[in-house]
Symmetry: C2
Subunit: 213 residues, 2 copies
């Protein structure tokens, strides 16, 4: 196993590369250069080569990268063939969007259970995912290590404590609340309001005109 010396910035780009390589394979392309990839995923070609180089010499000079080889390599590296089961807490609009999104297409990450409080939803399925009452969390969650949190901010902290107690190790938090977790739990934050505000701020204060990104 490649040791944990892969930069985080690189790790975040891997799923992106993986997805595009998949597209290429469907188009029956057999080779691709870092330059082509660069244009497609909007990442500098030198950065792409550097990213790949952390895993060894995957390409051939004067040729580029073999799509199938690269794809197989990443499939292993990204644990693509080991299905990661995920639970979703909070079946509002955002939660529903996730349930309908078929992650399995490229990811081998699958939402297998959802939880909510609303009586009308309990017992139904959305996108093939069964929805349980939140009271059943303790009995139904064990075994699942990753959770998507799409509940109101006010409930985030209490829910987080519950999740941590059950043994969750990763939380994708869409709540504006900055939740507190023990040091062994990883939280990734996606704050929709902040993203929008940041975009507006950049527009006003960082006039671009010939920047690449």
């Amino acid at each position: 196993m490649v040791k944990s010396k892969i930069p985080q910035a690189t790790a975040k780009r891997l799923p992106l590369y993986y997805r595009y390589l998949n597209n290429l394979q469907h188009q029956e392309k057999t080779r691709v250069s870092s330059k082509e990839l660069s244009e497609a995923v909007k990442v500098d070609s030198a950065t792409i080569r550097r990213d790949f180089s952390y895993f060894g010499a995957l390409g051939k000079k004067g040729y580029g990268y073999n799509v199938e080889y690269l794809l197989n390599f990443f499939r292993e590296t990204l644990d693509q063939d080991e299905l990661t089961e995920v639970a979703l807490i909070g079946v509002g609009n955002l939660g529903t969007a996730f349930l309908k999104y078929n992650f399995l297409k490229n990811n081998n990450t699958k939402i297998v259970k959802a939880f909510d409080t609303a009586g009308t939803k309990i017992g139904t399925e959305i996108g093939g995912v069964p929805i349980f009452h939140i009271d059943e969390l303790e009995e139904r969650l064990p075994g699942i290590k990753v959770v998507i949190l799409t509940i109101p901010a006010s409930e985030a902290e209490v829910m987080t404590e519950r999740l941590v107690k059950i043994g969750v190790e990763g939380i994708l938090n869409f709540t504006p609340a900055r939740i507190t977790v023990p040091s062994h739990v990883r939280v990734h934050h996606i704050d929709l309001a902040v993203e929008l505000q940041a975009l507006v701020y950049f527009l006003k204060h960082y006039p671009l005109e010939d920047k690449k990104e």
Copy 2:
């Protein structure tokens, strides 16, 4: 106007600070230290002081920061009192989540129009936002510089071209597609599948146990 020398990493944290300061004011707290702030928003206190320092000396030694003063200062800096109008393209589940989210609460960023193709939605309102048919884009969009894109990936590229032609300057792209835009248009990408995969990857390859973040 503070010149564009504020690091982008800092700019991204400003909305976060702003929101928490708002909470404090509602709690009628008058002062706050970088340490307190740090615990609440999970950003190192030195980083917070550094962030603030780009705007000048906003605090007092031995005291901390005055909540009201800081809030007023940021209100101006973040253009909080200048309402930024935003349009949303694609009223699916994700789009609906945005429409119901009341950005105005802290942001002075407001979604004023939404567009979709689905006949059943046209003419209705969600969260007070009127929904128009996408065919009316060219006549209704002018004046709006920022757009949230929550449509299927397959339509992203064509839609982007349309938006750019109308004069949009910022796109918050929730599509997995990496869209191509002229250099004066700013795109922020939020790729839900990538975020989930990245979290899973980090969990497997970056075991934490005593890391802070």
